[in-house]
Amino acid sequence: MERTDAELIAAVLKGDAASFEPLVQKYSPRIFATARRYARRESEVEDIVQTIWLKAFEKLESFRGEAPFEHWLMRLAVRTCFDGLRVHQRNRETTFSELSEPEQDWLDRFVSQPDAAGENAEAASQLVARVLEQLSPSARMVITLQEIEERSVKEIAALTGWSVPLVKVRAFRARAEMRKVLSRIAKEKYL
């Protein structure tokens, strides 16, 4: 019979480290999907996920079992991703002259016929990743959680550990930052 999360966690806390493996197996897909929102290179994603799991093992004692383990783990994951963004923020300043051919084509199509530029195109998601890379860590975090994952302010506050007013302020600034980046694209490419 498959053991529940609570049973596995209790076993790990009693010293049976092997009981941690089913938890890693069960929740790794979710953690990888989250980490891939904040890092592009696969080696970087793996490093982030590894850090999340090692932290989870270290801090497992602080899990009180009041909420599902998945919620606790996601909070840890989001905060670790934010730390990762802050570490790598120095490398984010690039110009839009380096757009790939499909990205450039998509953008050209959008300029000539906005409705013809499809949202399902791979080029569009690559372009959005490139735009997100230009944002500050907090702006990127808020745009990802609020606009892309469609989470509420309260949920974002719980995930990030920020207060609700702080999330609102950061969301406002993030949208302004995003518009600034988009206007830079327009200036570099079409003016």
Binding site: A17, A18, F20, E21, V24, Q25, S28, P29, R30, F32, A33, R36, R37, E46, V49, Q50, W53, L54, F57, F110, V111, P114, A117, E119, N120, A121, E122, A124, S125, L127, V128, A129, V131, L132, I143, E147, I148, E150, M178, R179, L182, S183, A186, Y190
Partner: protein, 104 residues
């Protein structure tokens, strides 16, 4: 270029293409190997870690008490001076031994 529309399109594109949740082969084995390779903490290491954690609050308490005693001394009257109190205490027995009329 309509920037608001571009923003909406890009956000919609990101929603339509969620990142993959693919896990590399035997990733959990890698994590477990990492955990097994970590040095086990003995009692002395735990004790040392606890001492280091306690150091900062202890320093803070020491500074607070130091500041409190300093301000308390500055605010007190000169008669409460420690040197005077010491002198009174030392000479108390001599004062008591002297008869009241010996001063005459």
């Amino acid at each position: 270029m309509n920037l608001a529309q571009l923003e909406r399109k890009l956000i919609a594109a990101a929603r339509a293409n969620p990142p993959s949740s693919r896990v590399p082969y035997a990733f959990e084995k890698r994590i477990m190997a990492q955990l097994a390779a970590r040095p086990a903490l003995d009692d002395w290491a735990l004790w040392g870690r606890a001492l280091w954690r306690a150091a900062a609050p202890c320093v803070a308490i020491m500074l607070l008490l130091g500041a409190w005693s300093l301000f308390d001394l500055q605010g007190s009257t000169p008669t409460n001076d420690l040197s005077q109190q010491l002198e009174q205490t030392l000479l108390a027995s001599v004062d008591q031994d002297q008869p009241a009329d010996s001063a005459w």
